[in-house]
Symmetry: C4
């Protein structure tokens, strides 16, 4: 498997999934209704907007992590392709989880489903990283410290998502807020990402 095509395919799925998020916005048929009714219907979409912004950040971060990770990787074997398909399957599911979250923002089922999908994606990332470490797929120039820092960052992310998902059962609104907090937190460079920031001209 050619690494460039592997990345191009993954990028395609990330870009398509992020753009499909817009299908979470649906208006009832209001033809003939007053401006006031239409305005209220639009304003009632604010949880959908929040879920849209959240998922745009989440998929954006996943795409960045994917690049940051595979910049360090010299070769891609069939197991990586398989684990990557599992990851992309979760990513491509996010538009549905997002529209459900936007439609039922304070409900336990929708908040839990959303956390389940993110926990699943995070699990796939951790499995992929574990495999890459096991088969020594990294460029020789990648230091053990960088790999260890990446592993720590991935594990912390996994714990955060699983915890937020579990919270959904008890206090859905806190869980929703936690997803937003995690997304905001991850938009700040750390670990492998901070490392990349140094040579961002490449």
């Amino acid at each position: 498997m050619n690494k460039a095509r592997f990345e191009a395919f993954s990028d395609g799925v990330f870009a398509f999934a992020i753009t499909l998020l817009v299908l979470g916005f649906v208006l009832p048929d209001l033809r003939g209704a007053s401006n006031r009714t239409l305005t209220i219907a639009l304003l009632h979409l604010w949880p959908n907007l929040l879920a849209y912004a959240l998922s745009f950040g989440v998929i954006g971060i996943m795409w960045q992590n994917h690049h940051a990770l595979f910049r360090l990787v010299a070769r891609v074997d069939r197991t990586v392709v398989f684990l990557n398909l599992l990851l992309l399957g979760g990513t491509a599911f996010i538009p549905f989880a997002t529209s459900t979250l936007g439609s039922y923002p304070a409900s336990a089922p929708a908040t839990f489903l959303y956390g389940l999908v993110l926990s699943y994606c995070s699990t796939a990332y951790n499995l992929m990283l574990a495999h890459l470490v096991r088969v020594r797929a990294f460029f020789p120039s990648v230091t053990p410290e960088t790999i260890a820092a990446t592993q720590r960052a991935y594990r912390v992310g996994w714990i955060a998502y699983v915890t937020a998902a579990a919270l959904a059962m008890i206090v859905p609104v806190v869980s929703f807020a936690a997803y937003i907090a995690i997304a905001v937190y991850y938009l700040v460079p750390r670990g492998v990402d901070a490392d990349l920031a140094d040579d961002s001209t490449s």
Copy 2:
């Protein structure tokens, strides 16, 4: 962050968002109806067609501006990636704003929402440009005059969109016409774009 992948991802979202605009066309179920009924239903979609053509132009221009801007840029840091995500989040929202505008073309809420989204995108562009200037991310060959011309063009665009959006509150039809006028105006090369026209063979 690799600049080529950054551009490829952005291009993907632009191309995908522009193609999703077609989902703004929806016919009621007319199976068994007369040709006349179907013809009338199709003709009643003319505001959707107008909104479709407008947004096709708008996203096309945004895509061109994105290229014109990043042709001048030597490196992409995490802040640019973040601001770019904000921009793409606005772009990917345009299909919904377009279908709303097409369905309620003369209404204040739909016209205002459309202007709000374009103003938001323009704001993201201005913030991105300001950051690129601040961190001196441009190629050494880019003259201060080119940068200043680009900044002026971006500010004028921002003022135009915000003004048109504000008009939506009072005279929605004029606001709609203003969006079209701005799109037509921007399809003519100016500033950074005119500069590119000189070496269009590259």
Copy 3:
């Protein structure tokens, strides 16, 4: 405007539009219905399947023509980008024209709309070619004979589409059959395409 990015963006729209054609297949909610009812509902989609196959061919041909044309082109100016946007706007509209044709296959309005869109796209191609000839945008190695053959092929295509669209007013089924005949005909190499077949290894 960089030619490679111009082509990549166009390819993206072609690939997305061709894949969106599948949204023309919609089943009514038949949960709990018998196998017989579901089978009949699926078989009733045969005009949609015909329209799907037709449009898949049409967009596939347009994509091939785009490549065949721009292989001859050395530089892309702003006018080409603009005319190309007009072309892509027609291409991205094809999924809607297709689902309308599939839902009302023997009706004059749906058949005419379909022909109108293809005539529009053919017009955009002819305008683009005329501009490329006017500004001498072709590689020096491209012979006047190749250009003349391409122009003839484009004009014939335009006449075919406009004639088939006009037929829709009188005998919609013949018009539908004509679209299929034109698509089948264009899948055989001619003019600029036959020229390319000689050096298909590149």
Copy 4:
């Protein structure tokens, strides 16, 4: 036809079709319903999830096979482009077959439709391979053994899909299980794929 663009276009359709699978998940409007009702509605989507995972694997495998095959191919002629369009037309149809399978998982019509589409795609692959062999389109370094192994693998796949599709008429659930078994089986490298695993760094 340029081979790189041929592959990029195909990749775009594969990536887009795989992402469109998510549209198979549709919830009824449950606003105001209890958490229990929403949870039950989500759990009732399990056949859709199964069909989603199956088709994600199927399209993922088709994409891998496409790469594995065209890595061996030196040149792409018009016939290959045509046969590839037939293949992509089947691939882009998979989201509809998947949502039908997910909605009517134990029904003969939905299971048969799904098998029909996969058999069709497998037929297109076999025709494409037969043509590539006939015109000797492979790189000189590709051994007759590799080609023969690929042909055997493709024929076995075809027989498997046609058999599973035929089963749908009699025992739909067994047919569904067979699709899953085939997908799982093909995710393990064999023939041309195993060959590629040796030089996965390229």
